[in-house]
Homo-oligomer: 228 residues x 2
């Protein structure tokens, strides 16, 4: 039976982007409903009481399933559409993928996004004024530390969890791609990360992300350039 | 082949407690290594570069698998020791369990733990002085909102994800149990939550948590009382 999918997402939300990449890589077509989550629309809060994107709604002949939050959606997609597998083939590989998912969901989010994206994106959307310099500096320092960690992993690995593309790569790339939209990734200092990101950027699943434009926030000049 | 398990955890860490509950419910024996994660010991950072508890180390005849971060460990345990299942039987139930896991990992953590546990636990461990009243108030307000949400769920459900005990109950109970250690849960105002917590508290998997005592931080008088 055909499943109809609608993804409620915000284009510059790293969690939403992870799901778009996974859907693209698994070649699962879906409708898009863009959600300005900070407006906290009642009908969206009915779908997801946390008010956060992404939310995936699947409909088939038997009814509707609402899947809220990126981790739940990513595990769901890998369970219900297992090819290509994006978690890992054995317990150790699966554990490593999920360790890195958590790394980006929490550590990267606390140490980088909470500063950089808050100042550059959320403040603009919420009309809270100009970016604060101290926070920008803290976010950029956090970002350098994380890029250094990814660079070290990639010295011994083809993809982040080991030898195969996984959700760990999508988590890292989704987060970096939003920061790259604002031109804040110092690619030249991290050549291993840059090469890995170029590989990801040229995959078909990445194309929709490179086409994102948010009104009033133009991306950095190299944002959709495959050879940056 | 027998698997030897060692759990590196901190007794009052909600994420560590979720894993202890799951191991207990699945009747998987394990050795304990208590980790004062805030000391950032180099040998622990080698196990988990994020420096966070919990970390599960499994050894069998073939080698050692290190599984870091609660979500990775919980999914791993449910995949490798599937009985009793703690995620859900069908995609909708599994999605609901994981939605609630994310709810407690992020929303509850941001809105309650970041205030209450920071003031009552982390400040004491790090020698940062007395709890700040404004933060305590914000944490208690957040806690009431979350208890109200759990109460509403339980008006229509036996367990948090629906009809069966799952990791969602363990996530909620693990978080509430740490706050209850400090005597900050207003149980009398939320009778549905209290009844549900009493059911959980009397399960064998909960016993080790009720026996936890951290030096210099005595628990509230009713903490290990099954009829509180």
């Amino acid at each position: 039976m055909t499943i109809q999918r609608t993804l409620h997402h915000f284009p510059l939300d790293p969690a939403s982007r992870q799901v778009r990449l996974a859907l693209g890589e698994k070649r699962l077509p879906f409708n898009e409903a863009q959600e300005r989550y900070w407006e906290r629309r009642p009908s969206f809060l009915e779908l997801n009481p946390s008010g956060m994107t992404p939310v995936l709604v699947e409909t088939d002949g038997e009814g509707r399933t609402v899947i809220c939050e990126s981790r739940a959606i990513l595990e769901h997609l890998n369970e219900t559409a297992p090819e290509p597998d994006l978690v890992g083939r054995d317990p150790a590989e699966r554990a490593e993928t999920r360790r890195l998912l958590q790394w980006f969901d929490r550590k990267f989010d606390y140490e980088v996004n909470a500063f950089l994206l808050h100042e550059k994106m959320e403040k603009q959307m919420l009309g809270l004024g100009a970016p604060g310099l101290a926070n920008l500096r803290a976010g950029r320092e956090g970002l350098r530390a994380h890029l250094g960690y990814i660079e070290r992993l990639l010295q011994e690995r083809d993809w982040l969890n080991g030898r195969r593309l996984s959700l760990a790569d999508f988590a890292a790339a989704a987060n970096l791609s939003v920061i790259d939209y604002f031109g804040d990734v110092p690619w030249r200092e991290f050549s291993g990360v840059r090469t890995w990101y170029m590989k990801l950027k040229s995959r078909p699943c990445f194309r929709p992300l490179l086409a994102d434009r948010w009104p009033g926030l133009a991306p950095a000049a190299h944002y959709d350039d495959l050879d940056f």
